[in-house]
Symmetry: C2
Subunit: 318 residues, 2 copies
Amino acid sequence: MTETAPGSTFVAFVRDHQSAVEAALRELLPPPTAAPVALHEAMHYAMFPGGKRLRPMLVLLGCMSTGGDPARVLRPAAALECLHTYSLVHDDLPCMDDDDLRRGRPTCHKVYGEATALLAGDALLTLAFEGAAAGGGAAAIALARAAGSLGMVGGQVEDLAAEGETHGHTLERVQWIHDHKTGALITGALVVGAHAGAAAAGHPEGAPDDVIAPLIAFGDRLGRAFQIADDCLDLTGSAQELGKNPGADVALGKLTWPALVGLERSLATAHSLAGEAAALAVEVVAAAARWRGVDRSVLDGAARLLQDVASYTVERRS
Amino acid sequence: MTETAPGSTFVAFVRDHQSAVEAALRELLPPPTAAPVALHEAMHYAMFPGGKRLRPMLVLLGCMSTGGDPARVLRPAAALECLHTYSLVHDDLPCMDDDDLRRGRPTCHKVYGEATALLAGDALLTLAFEGAAAGGGAAAIALARAAGSLGMVGGQVEDLAAEGETHGHTLERVQWIHDHKTGALITGALVVGAHAGAAAAGHPEGAPDDVIAPLIAFGDRLGRAFQIADDCLDLTGSAQELGKNPGADVALGKLTWPALVGLERSLATAHSLAGEAAALAVEVVAAAARWRGVDRSVLDGAARLLQDVASYTVERRS
């Protein structure tokens, strides 16, 4: 893969920031030796080793593309991974998806028991807000709205409800579930980064609405592309690439794009959404440059990164 | 009961602020008609009708006693009740205490099923931070620390672990569990109120450490007195007064003060702690008056309220 292949600029960005994000995570989490040890061990088990830390990277990108310094928002970036991880731990519980395998290892409740896994999830969710609030009140509010009953948790409820249904599987329904269950937190990560970057630069109220609006529009497309690509990967990926059993969505009767319109049309839609996102990236940096009073060219690199993360989202193999 | 009976000033304060707190709760929660309806119904079921809303009232008191305007911190006050309610919903789940009855009604999972109750708890926890962060980053961070793995959730883990043990039941162990499971959030409520009141008055960084320190010392005593009194009520109260079956702690083999040192010594300790708290109330308002640059007499009423809530805590019958 050359540096100009789709997604490679973002992959290089991830490589460059991975160790800083991991360090921020280890700083935010109490050590596994802290009392109660079983709880902190379970939290560490769920968090390390992690996936690609996509959501923390989106916090850094949301910050950079709105003119902020990503080095100042590492704690809010770590917060997004805590929040994402809590949702996985609770999703895997017996009363939810009842999964045994996650990232190629036994799920948290398989190792630590149901009660400790439930509480480890609760603690990670709580810790996410300790981290987000380090970026100010606006960052924490943005995270809460993305993650709550009108966002991610709402999507999980509808996703579970849809599993048991034998009719009513429309594309609109799938889209609603995707937008809430996955999209809200992807957009939320970008917005948290923008607000936290603003707060670090002396704006405790966060970034203004006219800077946030194009970022939300970008995030909406990115989130949709991400989830459609994810549904397709469940059909085309290997267990090794995915770290979980492929075909799991089909086995659970989950609502997915490929189940409704086929693999080919799903992939075409994902690519089209990534294209829309790339166009919106230009608007994001234009609004940010006006607000910050800097020349737009200063944010050219950030715009290219936003465009490249959109390509990465649909080209990835895991 | 005359106006000078122990606890009556606080009871009058609760009466005066109850409707404002209920209104703030209904504003913070999405309506039960919002999608997904089952989730929002479950959240409302758990929240309304509620208990005495002690923790929101402590947010208002934490604000007032440090010189803030309680009318400006109603949203953070509502947040504390969301957080407390989430902890009850998750505590009642089959993998935790497996309770059928709460506040005299079937528990949330008995009515809405385990998955929806789990997610309703997650959503209430998330919503708590949307409310707390309306009082600024410092208020949200204080709530997260009080509620997380080094606070309330840590206490729940140790409480569950202690149930299965046949030895090691020391007073130090009970105290650690009480301090974390119950005390942390009581102190947290006061601190959230102080920070949110400061933020509303133009201090986005919250109240200074030398104002927070005596408030924490007060809250620690109040929290200990509260939990010991609670343990005693489990033995001496009626199902009607408690809204749950009395003797439940004993049946579960839970670590309690009366189980270790008897009812009489437990009640004496609770009263002694309430007395210490009353003395510390004076230090709280003294530090706050210095910081705000006002005469201490301005905060005399708030000091009396703090002292009275300590009396109320050990005199209550439910």
